[in-house]
Amino acid sequence: MPDIPGASRVEISRDEVAHLADLARIDLSDAELDALAPQLSVILESIASISEVAADDIPPTSHALPLTNVFREDVVVPCLTAEQALSGAPAKEQQRFAVPRILGDEQ
């Protein structure tokens, strides 16, 4: 892994990757975990190097454009038909999306 000058080392552990995969409901093999953890660390380090550039007087920025209050009128616009909405569904029944049962509760 190349050292980025001035960047602090940020590492993501194999366990953390396994946890994230679990949250994202992605099934990763041991080999994939071994391969992904260092790759994700590289990405995190690259991001960290950007933080190094920002001086203390720069607040964390989430939006590049200096815009606020972009609102829409509360007016109905035409929506999709049920056929259109369901056209990409892997399975449908009773005009609804049929999906595998998920363990756990609704949020």
Partner: protein, 501 residues
């Protein structure tokens, strides 16, 4: 398996309950939070969606300005500070009811925060004011609706697969979160119920939601924990969901106090978990254990720019706030001349607004109260629906009373008019005409009926002739029966007494 319970009084003798209430209000905007899809309740499945609320690639959300306005007004009505700058955040989780795989919500920058509201709680000897502190009110969006198919119970355990309707996905929600409610002691469940009822009245007054619990436009999660009495600590809490009526809010809180006290009293510890209220059996059942699955990895929503309400806007919205519920109640009670008991019954029957509108439509306060609290409250009860959802308007109730006042019908006939209007037979006047309910004011017909009754009851007639006027009741009854109730009983009495004088 049923949980062990400790009698309520015993639980209170050993522990102090602390509650946190999370209420979700579905706003009544005509479009969704981030797209122009309609929000009408009860539409055919998946007929109110678009690429944005289905989370299709490339779609972009735009905030509904009306929803922000409603959120600010709710915040102001709860005496909150309004954020001068705040952002939306993505709450990431994977569940089929959320097609984007994240819910657009707010995280550490809620639109409204640090408020309070004063709730009137019924007690054994009247009522008392309890201040509930509001931690925050934030904007978010609703999820789709899942139907679980297969399995024996229809609940998710044992379901084979789920069917999802996304009509509800993206409807604006305001989540109102209280600070821990401490010190309510044995009144904690009553405070919870009173708080939700109070919120409902407040929101109704603002006109920003239908707040109908049975339709899910007001939903309450009850967080509850116990701590050893007098320690002022916060114990491990459970979060009870699926609490769909005011009565359930109170019952669920009471149940959790008894259940948790049994566990703690026998040396056990409370599992931090989600529980589900069971309306029929009146218990809470264990749902999902809170774990690191609640790792939502919030981050600022990059597709929506921050919301920064100007001071002028907030001030102008403040001017639109209606009078607070307590002030309104006091004013109405004075205007109507209701006793404390009458007022309490009216509020308890959820009929304050209905009575108010009926009076505005011309009925006297007592007449308006009488019909809503006797006749209509009973029917709502029998049908197990909200009194407000009965298919009759306050104006129609006022019209029925006007018909009585004009002498067109009497109280007994009025009940049949209510039957007709509620059965969808039309307006009160249409029902009176169609059912032939008008009082017979034809003196000839009335006189003939009185003569017939006198002839058929010579003994009674004799007593009245001798001055026993009280006996007239039997003859009045006979005439009313003959006229199938459609006579003015006062006039019948007069006729009888004239004829037997």
């Amino acid at each position: 398996m049923s949980d062990a319970l400790v009698p309520y009084d015993e639980a209170l003798a050993a522990f102090d309950p602390a509650m946190g209430l999370e209420v979700h209000i579905e706003l009544n905007t005509v479009t969704k939070m981030f797209c122009g899809c309609p929000t009408e309740f009860g539409a055919e499945p998946n007929t109110q969606t678009c690429p944005t609320c289905l989370g299709l690639p490339g779609s972009m959300p735009v905030v509904n300005g009306k929803a922000v306005e409603s959120a600010i007004r709710i915040g102001l009505a709860l005496n909150c500070d309004i954020a001068s700058w705040c952002r939306f955040a993505r709450k990431n989780y994977f569940y089929p009811d959320m097609p984007k795989n994240f819910q657009t919500s707010q995280y550490d920058e809620p639109i409204a925060f640090d408020g309070y509201t004063d709730v009137l709680v019924d007690t054994a000897d009247g009522s008392e004011v309890f201040r509930v502190e509001i931690e925050r009110a934030h904007m978010e969006e609703d999820t789709g609706k899942s139907l679980h198919v297969g399995g024996s119970t229809g609940r998710i355990q044992g379901a084979d697969y789920s069917l999802v309707d996304y009509n509800r996905a993206g409807i604006p929600l305001i989540e109102i979160v209280t600070r821990p409610i401490m010190g309510a002691r044995e009144k904690a469940p009553a405070v919870a119920k009173a708080y939700v009822a109070h919120l409902r009245e407040l929101i109704l007054g603002l006109g920003v939601s239908d707040v109908r619990m049975e339709q899910g436009s007001l939903r309450c999660d009850v967080n509850l924990s116990l701590a050893p009495i007098g320690t002022g600590e916060l114990g491990t809490r459970t979060e009870t969901k699926n609490v769909n009526s005011l009565r359930s809010v109170e019952r669920a809180a009471r149940y959790e106090i008894s259940r948790q006290a049994a566990i703690l009293g026998s040396g056990g510890s409370i599992l931090q978990e989600t529980r589900h209220w069971q309306e029929v059996s009146g218990v809470t059942l264990s749902g999902r254990e809170k774990s690191d699955a609640d790792d939502y990895r919030y981050f600022p929503e990059p597709d929506l720019v921050p919301v920064a309400p100007s001071e002028e806007w907030v001030r102008s919205l403040k001017d639109t706030l209606p009078e607070p519920p307590r002030v309104r109640r006091d004013r109405l009670q004075k205007e109507w001349g209701f006793s404390d008991l009458e007022m309490r019954d009216t509020i308890g029957a959820d009929a304050l607004g209905l009575v108010e509108e009926t009076i505005a439509a011309g009925a006297s306060p007592q007449a308006a109260r009488k019909w809503w609290l006797s006749e209509l409250a009973r029917r709502a009860n029998e049908q197990d629906v909200d009194i407000a959802s009965l298919p009759i308007t306050p104006a129609q109730v006022a019209r029925i009373q006007a018909l009585i006042d004009e002498g067109g019908i009497n109280d007994k006939l009025a009940r049949q008019v209510f039957d007709g209007v509620l059965a969808g037979e039309g307006t009160p006047d249409e029902v009176v005409a169609a059912r032939g309910l008008a009082i017979v004011s034809d003196e000839g017909a009335l006189s003939a009926a009185v003569d017939a009754a006198i002839a058929a009851n010579p003994d009674v007639a004799g007593k009245i002739r001798e001055g026993k006027v009280a006996a007239a009741g039997a003859l009045i009854g006979a005439v009313m029966k003959d006229m199938r109730g459609q006579a003015d009983a006062g006039r019948v009495r007069e006729l009888i007494l004239e004829k037997l004088a």
